[in-house]
Subunit: 212 residues, 2 copies
């Protein structure tokens, strides 16, 4: 079934829709000729390829009907409410090739909507954390916690220690801040040259790692 050329043609679309809508949407390809399911992505019911489509109501052969139906509501056996859309997909000659159905489980949305409407929807807007106001304090803090972790004062840190601290600072994008280098060098009690040396070593994970 998977090697039906029609499935190959339409699969990427189905896969894309399924990926976009995450776990809450089921995508089904029907064969209008045999009225059976050809393929399913994200199945929500037990239906699978080969099962009957039960699409009787939409007549793919009526040329006057529109190609896209819905969204209309369906009800699953367990009570979940679905929004469904169907589309008749045609081959280059205009013949109905397959019928695509997308079924979206509305319950999570309805739950969310219920909660939202319970408030008057004043739409919470965070006041924006924005940027760290005192990034140099932050540097001191990173160095400080490391010092406390290993119990050695800054002056006694080993080369490896400084590399570790630098890794954290670099990770935290500290060096994207202007004039950060001298501050960090100061905090680590190291010269600017050394700082750049360590940094280079840190950022070149190749060569020279015989130490590991």
């Amino acid at each position: 079934m998977d090697d039906d050329p029609r499935v190959r043609t339409w699969a990427p679309v189905c896969q894309a829709v399924a990926a976009l809508l995450g776990p809450y949407a089921e995508v089904v390809l029907h064969d209008p000729g045999t009225d059976r399911i050809m393929a399913v992505w994200n199945p929500m019911s037990a239906r699978g390829p080969g099962d009957p489509s039960l699409l009787g109501e939409l007549d793919a052969l009526d040329p006057s009907a529109p190609d896209v139906f819905g969204p209309y509501e369906k009800l699953l056996a367990d009570g979940r409410r679905l929004s469904s859309v169907s589309a008749i997909l045609r081959d280059p000659d205009g013949r109905a090739s397959v019928v695509l159905c997308v079924n979206l489980d509305r319950t999570p949305l309805e739950q969310a909507a219920a909660v939202l409407s319970a408030f008057g929807a004043p739409t919470v807007s965070r006041p924006e954390p924005l940027f760290e106001h005192d990034w140099s304090e932050r540097v001191q803090h990173v160095v400080g916690s490391y010092v406390r972790e290993c119990g050695r004062p800054v002056e006694r840190l080993t080369r490896a220690d400084r590399l570790a601290v630098l890794a954290r600072l670099d990770e935290a994008k500290v060096f994207a801040v202007r004039r950060a280098t001298p501050v960090v060098a100061g905090a680590l009690r190291v010269s600017r040259s050394t700082l750049y040396g360590l940094l280079a070593e840190l950022r070149a994970p190749n060569a020279k790692d015989h130490a590991r």
Copy 2:
């Protein structure tokens, strides 16, 4: 453009997706050959048929690449965050026929999620805010919220508007970040020179404040 046979082939799918996702999703068909937009449903930006696709990164001609990308995050000029999925759709011979992109505006979902997460998990404690990982996105966001506040697109902002945005960005210490100036200038659709001009005006509270 509408009578391109490829558009006829794929239009029902696009229309279905657009119908299913209501007003919050944009569906775009790209021509991988000319790298231009062929058709758009539910347009969210000003792009239309014939405009360049700006899809450079996904190479439709690389046969080893997967056919479906995403979902990945995109940022609109006005700051809205999108979930995007792209799929390469092929003709019966396996040649890339068109590229389908579905862009879902996440802001309503995020607002809902924010409210929902406010229940449960009292006071999420982030383990060290550290630095903003993507500060340029932050810039986009500040510009974006302003644009939405005053309802004018970036291109139509007045001089005073730009001053106001700059004040916010300056307040947020954006210019303490390396290489921020060109990014901000770009976001405001203004040249570097102008940027510095506005900035100077902003930071000189003396003289010329007859306006207060």
